[in-house]
């Protein structure tokens, strides 16, 4: 990056967390309304991309929970594992299990679907971050 923009840097710092928060909201919202792991993962990548472009690839990479490729693979693993409990009850793979926990008047629904969705979220975030960093890195070499 040839020129720095102080204002953009300042905004990006807080916008990063806001975007991640929004992506988690979309992730959880996916249960009853449009949303879900894939689209939330894309939003998270947008946040990472913002940091990578405004600052540099390294600082964006440092903010990820894992190395990008490992994040992607951990996501795939999580999604695969979430399908296994369903098999115990003689059901097909990926038959999801639901439990309700009553707290006061509310029922919090717990399920293996959320594990699957978090897995997809991590897989998309990690995979696209890998591509993104690879692209931005070569750009640096050329110019």
């Amino acid at each position: 990056m040839t020129s720095r923009s102080i204002m953009l840097e300042y905004v990006a710092r807080s916008a990063y967390w806001l975007m991640l928060l929004a992506s988690v909201w979309i992730l959880l919202r996916g249960h009853n309304a449009p949303g879900g792991g894939f689209i939330a993962g894309l939003m998270a990548v947008a946040a990472t991309a913002l940091l990578a472009i405004v600052y540099d690839v390294d600082s964006a990479r440092r903010r990820l929970p894992l190395q990008p490729l490992q994040l992607a693979v951990a996501g795939v693993l999580l999604a695969l594992i979430s399908g296994i409990p369903g098999v115990w009850d003689d059901n097909a793979f990926l038959t999801h299990q639901w439990w309700g926990i009553e707290v006061g008047n509310n029922v919090f629904k717990l399920s293996t679907v959320i594990i699957f969705d978090v897995g997809v979220f991590a897989a998309v975030w990690g995979a696209f971050a890998t591509y993104l960093f690879a692209l931005l890195d070569t750009q640096g070499e050329v110019t």
Partner: protein, 486 residues
């Protein structure tokens, strides 16, 4: 779970191999162990479907036709076991020094990802899901092209990517339109919907689009030029897996879609497909005759053999399906064996260009024998496995009165012989142009020889004792082009 094992086992293995990236030996071990487990699962699956015939599984217990359905029958189980055999063979071969692929950290994950994609593509009974597996196949092959360093590979990867993406997009667009028209994605539901009299006029348009997409992916005439342009730059083991298997998955899907889902198409389709098959055969074999690079010759022969398989689809009867399936098994084995032999030849003689090597017969008699077995099978000299494949196919075209197609298929066999004789004379028979350059035998080649030996034995057995495979294929293809197909 057994139905899903051909995709779950490689997926888990791929994940594990990524996690073991830093530990090369452990990664290799896990990778080979995963391939062994896959092979065992495949054997079990074949055993199961041979007794019960057909295993269905609707993912997530959703009701059909909304669930993504996976179906294992004899046909898909056969593809699964071939995939598993090739996967294991390639990974074992990779441990030798006969032009292994560079051991980058992503090689094993990508190879297992590819196996998972093939497993998914042959087992799924859902059109959109099929698209997803084809996409995964495209991505992993692209990755395999890219992880090999160097400009040559990047160029090959780009050609592969651009043309296959076109096919994928066409496929996706057709899936969307079919879904918009019929409201179905499940194969059997689509088969029912396609029979609807109101849709009789529009379905053939979609089928034509689907056919074009898969013909591109299977490298049929006139869209085959991407294949020799991209494949020749791959190292031998990866090339054996990709060249042996991937284009055939396109043919397998075509056979399934034409034979089970859209069975009743206008006659002009089959006529066109037949001529495309003949053109593919001839252009492939002529391209091979022109080239001197071993890998290019073999890559063009993939194209030519695809023509035979297309001819089986074009003839559109259970008997031609049987011929096609038998031919496919033989061809995947023979092709993979030849690519692996080419890798050993490269190691021993130092080059892929036939003009610059030679003298392999006195130096490597075992390799020469193995080449003869695989080469004769490819040509179809009796009693090799290729002979039975071609015999069944040509017989069926004569029975249907397609004398020209059958005759041309035989003629292409003669031209194939020319290519194999060229490799034999140049690579094995004539002395090496630089006198000595055949390198000393090396113990590290043992795994490579072992793999090729097993493949050659499989070819010999199917050639000398074809009855079990013919019976199995007959049972596997009896449901093709039947009105009452499930």
């Amino acid at each position: 779970m057994l139905v899903l094992s051909p995709l779950l086992v490689p997926l888990f293995t791929a994940v594990l191999t990524v996690l073991l990236q830093r530990h090369q030996r452990a990664q290799q071990g896990v990778s080979i162990a995963g391939a062994v487990v896959l092979l065992l699962c495949a054997l079990w699956l074949v055993q199961e479907v041979s007794s019960v015939g057909r295993i269905q599984l609707a993912l997530g217990n959703w009701p059909l036709p909304f669930a993504i359905e996976f179906v294992a029958d004899r046909l898909s189980a056969l593809m699964v076991i071939i995939t598993a055999v090739l996967g294991l063979g390639v990974l074992v071969y990779q441990t030798s020094i006969a032009e292994p692929a560079s051991e980058s950290a992503m090689l094993h994950p990508l190879l297992h990802g590819l196996l998972a994609a093939v497993g998914g593509a042959v087992l799924t009974a859902d059109l959109f899901n099929l698209y997803v597996w084809f996409e995964l196949m495209l991505i992993t092959v692209l990755g395999l092209l890219v992880v090999q360093d160097g400009y040559r590979h990047t160029e090959a990867a780009f050609k592969y990517f651009a043309l296959n993406l076109l096919g994928t997009l066409l496929f996706l667009a057709t899936v969307a339109m079919l879904y918009g028209t019929t409201g179905q994605l499940n194969f059997s539901a689509l088969a029912d919907a396609a029979q609807h009299p109101e849709l009789k006029a529009v379905i053939p348009v979609y089928v034509a689009m689907l056919m074009s997409a898969f013909l591109l992916k299977a490298a049929a005439f006139p869209l085959f030029f991407w294949l020799p342009a991209s494949y020749h730059s791959l190292p031998a083991p990866v090339l054996a897996l990709i060249g042996g298997l991937i284009t055939k998955v396109g043919i397998y899907v075509l056979l399934r879609l034409m034979g089970e889902v859209f069975i009743d198409q206008p006659a002009v389709f089959y006529e066109a497909l037949g001529w495309i098959a003949i053109a593919t055969m001839i252009s492939g074999v002529l391209g091979a005759a022109y080239h001197w690079d071993l890998r290019r010759i073999l890559a063009f022969h993939i194209v030519s053999q695809i023509g035979y398989l297309l001819l089986a689809v074009a003839l559109a009867t259970p008997a031609s399906g049987l011929a096609g399936v038998f031919f496919m098994v033989h061809n995947i084995l023979a092709k993979a064996a030849l690519f692996l032999i080419a890798g050993i030849m490269w190691q021993a003689a130092g080059h892929y260009d036939l003009r610059r090597i030679g003298g392999l017969y006195p130096a490597r008699p075992l390799l020469a024998v193995l080449f003869l077995i695989a080469g004769f099978s490819l040509v179809g000299i009796p009693p090799s496995s290729g002979f039975w494949g071609k015999f069944l196919l040509v017989q069926e075209s004569f029975v249907q009165g397609r004398y020209l197609w059958g005759g041309l298929a035989l003629f292409v066999g003669v031209l194939t012989l020319y290519s194999m004789v060229k490799i034999w004379l140049e690579g094995f028979w004539k002395p090496h142009p630089q006198g000595t350059a055949v390198t000393a035998t090396n113990r590290q080649l043992t795994p490579a020889y072992a793999v090729v030996l097993v493949l050659a034995l499989l070819l010999l057995v199917t050639g000398l004792y074809p009855e079990p495979l013919i019976q199995y294929s007959e049972a596997a293809t009896s449901m093709l082009w039947q009105e009452s197909a499930p």
